[in-house]
Symmetry: C2
Subunit: 416 residues, 2 copies
């Protein structure tokens, strides 16, 4: 009898013996949860596995290697659109590094817990690491999401590399008006690592995709323990750590809610758009030729000049504090705006709100025609500016769009 | 008898009466702490003040309007170098905005509590808002700090705008080896505002400047209450909120300690360099022509090409996640490095460590010759790169300096 996920097993490898519960793994490593609660990974090639005790439900359950085909009538239909990233990655034994190679089907086969939540329709859209995402791909992805919903999907999961997940989440937030949940999910640790977050993140993502929350959101580990995932609004989330599993944080807003694990109970933390409240609509046009320029002490205005003189259609500045740059930059902001290039001011503080009405510098920046970015994240402001320029060519109309909350990206408040 | 800070007073203005404790204020507003703990500001022009009860120690204390001249032999000698910023600002009644106009002497006169801590020697170095700071000013400031210490100062306070305080703190950290404390302080709310943090921040800064902590540090509010200031290491601190008083946070390191308020008791939170451990030395040379380029989804390598082709001597990239950019950028990184321009990779996650050995993209970036920025903040990496290029022209020597901890900017650890 074959050992399955959940069974108690003994693994022998290189003279060592390990006993524990067999955990999901998409790679050639066997992952075991030991008695002390710690997970270890053991290379399959050198290991022999002895089944000690079947998990109760596995006794009647089909083995994980069988294809998953049975459609359960009572469960919602979720479309998984795979774009790549760590959640769909495995070790490349040639270089020792992690590459994206798994399809959505593979994920499903590796995480049997998903089966209780929904029926799945899987589509591989891209197989890239997310640093290679492009604005034109956002449009394609938005169209794929739109089609799935139009064809009856009750919820969408987009698997995505974590590096630029926030950019894609923002793009989908602006591009798709949705009557169903659209959930981006990834993992910070690849599946072959014992501390991988991919199985739990996927289960929580499916739970949200089957829920009442009809928004574009990011669902990722909420703590360094495996106790809950946080549901972040797609326009208010940022990757705030290079490696921690709870790297994603809601900024300048409360998260929408959380998914307890393993109970899969959803707890709401703020208001949200409910299933069916909005009609499906697609606004997939954007202007990719926009730049995000970060101001640092002593940064010359050359970079601003370069971009405004090289065909860029919009510029987001990541200024200091309440939204400042050195005085030397201000005439060049004015020139850009007068040439029809919208300039949006955001803050490298990340937290808080831009307010250019407190200090002289700020007031001069406003006079030069810059648009205050409110409490929008700089990265989200860039995505929104690309999108706004796709919706309207006129700079005043773009200004109006930037100042209007489209997908929860602005928390309304006065700045002083 | 004149009312002084600490006295209980009644203020009548525009038909309203307020009773409370008179608080420090450097502007034409009277600041009162009300019974409920909340502070209010009342314009002096329209107010009449009645003294209700002298604060016990004020009964023998000189009035605050008298010049502070008496040198107390037992107290340490602290030099206050003023550069401007909100802590030295007042409302410009012409524009309604805040401008820097106060000298160090004014600050001292307004905050009598400082007198118990030290004798002060005040020098106005600049009077600018900190977004107008420049790398060449760091060198001048470092020389001024060096001279003060050489001339016997037991501690240094640098008053500075908060916007770019972290950049200057990092610069001084690399430029000055110091046997005494060098403390940067500012305020997030100008002195005319009832919620101003300037008086408490200044008192805590003076406490640290008179202490045993011989490091460059930033001392600012540690919470939104007036209960303690945090002592941050100059290379590990970042302004993380546009407006909150506790905007400054230590990143990827514990703070050095905290100053309880009003007790002025210092509590250490991590190891530190003690007074007299290091000999005074100045390394004020730097190469200002360096750029910080932030990568965003879809960012073309044009900006990298522009900088490496326009005489820039060093480039810091703020990549995604563990330190990534799109594959398209990698040959241009290689070209820059081969042309003798060091390229340092940092992460826009802010928290965590760059590690380019996990994913294919990262390994290719390393092969192209980029320097992993470890857990250094992107802004600090920029300052350090300018400084490293001032110490050595050879790219291999610069690489070695960047990989060596100079002033606590690197927390040693393996990345995978």
């Amino acid at each position: 009898m074959q050992a399955e996920v959940g069974d108690k097993v003994r693994v022998e490898s290189k003279g060592m013996q390990y006993e524990g519960i067999l955990m999901p793994s998409q790679t050639r490593s066997i992952v075991l949860k030991l008695k002390n609660g710690y997970n270890i990974g053991i290379r399959q090639e050198s290991a022999s596995v002895t089944l000690l005790e079947k998990k109760e439900e596995n006794k009647i359950h089909k083995p994980i290697s069988e294809p998953i085909k049975i459609k359960k009538e009572k469960l919602p239909n979720i479309s998984i659109l795979s774009t790549g990233g760590t959640i769909a990655s495995k070790i490349d034994y040639r270089t020792g590094a992690v590459t994206s190679q798994f399809s959505a089907e593979d994920i499903l086969r590796a995480i049997p817990e998903l089966e209780d939540i929904a029926n799945y329709n899987c589509r591989m859209i891209y197989s890239i690491l997310s640093e290679n995402m492009r604005p034109s791909y956002w449009s394609e992805l938005a169209r794929a999401v739109y089609e799935e919903i139009k064809n009856g999907a009750d919820g969408i999961i987009v698997t995505h590399g974590t590096d630029t997940m926030m950019y894609t989440a923002a793009a989908l937030s602006f591009m798709v008006e949705t009557p169903v949940p659209i959930v981006l999910v990834g993992s910070q640790r690849s599946a072959d690592r014992p501390s991988s977050d991919n199985a739990m993140n996927a289960v929580c993502a499916a739970t949200v995709a089957a829920s009442d929350i009809a928004e574009v959101c990011v669902v990722m580990h909420g703590s360094t323990s495996d106790d809950f995932c946080t549901i972040h609004r797609g326009t208010k989330v940022r990757k705030m750590h290079t490696s921690r599993r709870d790297a994603f944080q809601s900024i300048n807003a409360k998260p929408i809610g959380r998914v307890e694990y393993p109970s899969r109970e959803i707890k709401m933390l703020s208001g949200y758009v409910k299933r069916g409240e909005k009609k499906l609509a697609l606004h997939d046009k954007l202007e990719p030729k926009c730049a995000l320029i970060k101001y640092a002490t002593g940064a010359s205005s050359e970079s601003l000049l370069f971009h405004s003189g090289s065909g860029y259609k919009g510029i987001v500045i990541e200024g200091t504090g309440l939204g400042h740059v050195s005085t030397e930059w201000i005439p060049h902001i004015k020139n850009a705006v007068e040439a029809g290039i919208p300039v949006v001011m955001t803050s490298q503080c990340i937290y808080g709100r831009v307010c250019d009405r407190v200090y002289d510098t700020g007031r001069d920046i406003l006079k030069a025609g810059a648009i205050e970015g409110e409490d929008i994240l700089p990265e989200v402001a860039l995505v929104k500016l690309m999108w706004a320029l796709g919706q309207a060519a006129d700079i005043e109309k773009v200004r109006e769009i930037m100042r209007t909350g489209i997908a929860g990206e602005i928390t309304r408040s006065t700045c002083i």
